[in-house]
Assembly symmetry: C2
Homo-oligomer: 405 residues x 2
C-alpha cells in the first residue's frame, strides 16, 4: 500500500473515451490497495480554443484574466475524470489547484510554486477517495488564480508528490520513457530503465522534449523519484532519480540534437575588458536567451581583436541581429554574420566524470564521417557541438552508434 | 455616483462580439461616474456542451462533480468580459463566485446562498476597477464549489446588490421588461414601468418566464429594487420593488397563460378525514409538485363521496397517474381521469385587494366568449382558472382586452 501520484497530459485525457481509459488504469492501481492522487491537464485542444476566444477579444489579454480563463481547462478535466472513476465504482473527488493548496507567487501565466498545504487532499484520501487535482494552476496567498506556464502539470504532480511524501510519482505521456536518442531519428535508440536528474536536465536543455527543465529541477531539489511512462500501454517507463554509483559505469546516457538554434558571429571585436559584457547585457535586456558562447583567441597586429560566436533560439535571431547592429558604432567590430543552417549535437552522461576521452572519441567519430565542428561547449557531464544542419541526423546516428550501439 | 450591479444572461454574452457589446454598455455607465459590479452567466450553449460531455462519461454524474464542471462555464465568461473591458481602456478584474465571497450550503446543483462576504469585491472596487463576478456559483464554508440551480445568476446579482447595498440592480435579458401579457400572444400587451414584488411572484408562478421565483423572493426579502431590461437596446425596463400605495390604483397588473399543466381528477373519493392528505402526501413523496387543487362538495347518498381535481406540470403526469392508481385499493375511489388539453389563465394585481368584482368580471368575459371554466383558484392578488387548451390564447386576449386594453 503506497501513495502514488499519477499525472496524465492533455493527449491522455483528450476526449471522454481516453478519460475512461485513464480511469480504468487508476482503478487497477487502486485495486492493488494503493492510495492515488491523479493530476490531469486540460483536454488537448481546449487551451488553444480558450486562447483563440481571448484573442478575439484583444490581441494581448491581461495575464491575470488569461489565468482565470485557462484554469477552466483543467477544471473541466478533473470533474470528468472524477466522474469516470465513479462510473466504474471507484470513489473519487476533484480539487482545483487552489483547493489542493497549491500556493504560488503572483507572476501570472508563469507562476512559481511557493508552498503546498494539501489539507483537502489529505482529508479526501482519508475517506478512501481517489483525489483528482487540476494541474498547471494554483493560487496566490491573496486568493488570485494563477497558472504555472509550460510543463506546469508535471510540476504540479512532482510538487504534490514531494508535499505528500508519495512513494512514487508517475508522469504518463505519449512516449514509453526517456530514450538514448529520439527513436524517430535513431532506429537503434533504446528506452532507458533509469536516468539521473542531472542527465535528464542536460538532455532537456539539449533539445530532448520529454519534460521541461523546471519540473526536473524541482524533483531534484526535493528528491522526488519519478517515472516517465506511456499512457497507451503497460510497459515500465524510465525512472528519474538521484545519481547512483552504478550509473557511472555507463559513460554516455543519451544523445540529442537541437535543430531550433541559430548562430551569430561577431568578427573583429576589439579585445578589451567589458566588450563581451556589453554585448550580452544588451541581448539580455532584449530578453534573448543565449545558449552557447565561444570566443576565439585574439589575433591580428596592433590593437588585438577577437571573434565572438553564440547560439540562440531561431525565432530570436532577427531581434538579436538588430541588437548587434545597434552596437556597431559603440563597440567598433568589423562585421557580424548569422547562420540558421546549424544543429547542436549533444551527448550526456554522468559517467563522463570518471571516464576520460569521451569528447575526443566523439570528435573522432564526427571527423570520420566528414562532419566539421563549428563550435564546442562542454560541461562536467555533457559535450555539445555545433555542426552543419544538413549533416545533423547522420552525425546523431554516428555518435549514437559509437557510444550506445 | 452610484454602485450598480448589472447582470447579463447567457444570450447577452453568447459570443465574443456580444461580450464586447456588454463591455461597451458597462463602459457607458462607468463614464457617468458609477461603480459597477457585473454578474455574467455562461455563454449560451456552453453549459449544455459540458452536460453532454458529462453524459458521455456516465448517465447520472455526481452532483459535486457536476458543480465543479459547470462552474467553468461562468469562469470562462468573466475572464473574457474583463478582457473586453480592458480592451476599451476600462480597468476590470474578474472573480469566481467563491472569490466574490458567495457562501452557500452544501446542496450541490441547487445550493442556497447562506451569506456573502464580498471582501475582494470591495477591494477591487476601491482600486477603481469594474468587478466581473461569475453568476450561478458559490462555495461552501469548507471550500467546495457549488452551483445555485436555475436562475442562479439572477440570484447572484440580487444577493450581491443586497450585500453591497447597491443603488440599483439591473437584470439584462432578451426582453424589454415585464409586460402586461406575453407580447407574442397579445399584440396590445404593454411594458410595465413598475411592478410589485408580490405581483412579479404571482406572475412567475403563473407561467410568465421572465425570472425564477427564488430571485424575486430574495429581492423581496432584502428589499432589493431591481430593473428588468433588454441588453439589445437602451430602453428603460421594468422596476420591480415593494408595493406602493399608488400601485393599488391599477386593478390588474398583468395576465398570463400556462400551457404546461395537466389535470388529474379522482372521481368518487370517500369523503372522510385524511383521504386528501393521503393522496397529496403520496404525490409529494414522489417529488411531484401540485399547483391548483379543487375539491367539489360531497354528493350521492349513503356514504358521502367527493371529486378531487388537481393540476401539475405535464412531464409529471405519468408519474402522478401511477401514484394515484397505486392508491385505488387503499382509498377505494371510483375512477381517475387525466387531461392534458388544459391551460391555466391567471390575472394578477395588488389592486384586487381594494377593488372588488375583478374575478366576477373575468368570469363574465370568459362566459361571453363561450369559454367554459373547469377549475378556479384565487389568492389575495390573483385569480387563476383552468380552461380548454384550444381556447387558451383567445381567452387570454379577451381578458387582457377587458382589463388592460
Amino acid at each position: 500500500m503506497a501513495l502514488i501520484v499519477q499525472k496524465f497530459g492533455g493527449t491522455s485525457v483528450g476526449n471522454t473515451e481516453r478519460i475512461k481509459n485513464v480511469a480504468a488504469r487508476v482503478a487497477r492501481y487502486r485495486a492493488r490497495g494503493d492510495s492515488l492522487v491523479v493530476v490531469v491537464s486540460a483536454m488537448s485542444g481546449v487551451t488553444d480554443g480558450l486562447i483563440k476566444l481571448a484573442k478575439e477579444i484583444m490581441p494581448l489579454p491581461s495575464e491575470r484574466e488569461m489565468d482565470m480563463l485557462l484554469a477552466t481547462g483543467e477544471q473541466t478535466t478533473i470533474a470528468l475524470t472524477a466522474m469516470a472513476l465513479q462510473a466504474i465504482g471507484v470513489p473519487a473527488a476533484s480539487l482545483t489547484g487552489a483547493q489542493a493548496g497549491i500556493v504560488t507567487d503572483g507572476v501570472h501565466t508563469k507562476a512559481k510554486i511557493k508552498n503546498i498545504t494539501p489539507k483537502q487532499v489529505h482529508a479526501l484520501l482519508e475517506t478512501g477517495s481517489v483525489v483528482i487535482v487540476a494541474g498547471f494552476q494554483g493560487q496566490t496567498p491573496e486568493g488570485q488564480i494563477t497558472t504555472l506556464g509550460r510543463g506546469g502539470s508535471d510540476l504540479t504532480a512532482i510538487a504534490l508528490a514531494a508535499a505528500l511524501k508519495a512513494g512514487l510519482c508517475q508522469i504518463y505521456t505519449d512516449v514509453d520513457g526517456v530514450y538514448t536518442a529520439d527513436p524517430r531519428l535513431v532506429l537503434t535508440a533504446r528506452k532507458l530503465d533509469e536516468i539521473a536528474y542531472d542527465e535528464m536536465l542536460e538532455l532537456a536543455g539539449a533539445g530532448a522534449k520529454v519534460m521541461q527543465l523546471r519540473s526536473v529541477e524541482f524533483a531534484k531539489k526535493f528528491g522526488v523519484v519519478f517515472e516517465v511512462r506511456s499512457s497507451m500501454n503497460d510497459n515500465p517507463g524510465t525512472i528519474v532519480k538521484e545519481e547512483t554509483k552504478s550509473m557511472e559505469d555507463v559513460v554516455i546516457r543519451g544523445v540529442s540534437i537541437d535543430k531550433n538554434q541559430a548562430k551569430v558571429t561577431v568578427v573583429g571585436v576589439p579585445d578589451r575588458p567589458g566588450v563581451a559584457a556589453r554585448i550580452f547585457q544588451a541581448l539580455a535586456d532584449a530578453a534573448i536567451n543565449i545558449d552557447m558562447i565561444v570566443q576565439n583567441v585574439s589575433h591580428g597586429e596592433g590593437a588585438p581583436v577577437t571573434d565572438l560566436s553564440f547560439t540562440l533560439d531561431k525565432p530570436d535571431l532577427l531581434k538579436a541581429r538588430k541588437v548587434i547592429d545597434a552596437l556597431k558604432g559603440e563597440i567598433g567590430y568589423r562585421d557580424a554574420t548569422t547562420n540558421e543552417a546549424i544543429a547542436k549535437l549533444s551527448m550526456v552522461g554522468v559517467g563522463m566524470r570518471s571516464h576520460s576521452g569521451a569528447a575526443a572519441k566523439m570528435f573522432a567519430v564526427l571527423a570520420n564521417e566528414g562532419v566539421n565542428i563549428d563550435m564546442i561547449s562542454t560541461s562536467e557531464i555533457k559535450v555539445s557541438v555545433v555542426i552543419d544542419l544538413a549533416k545533423g541526423d547522420h552525425a546523431l546516428r554516428a555518435v549514437h552508434g559509437a557510444f550506445l550501439g
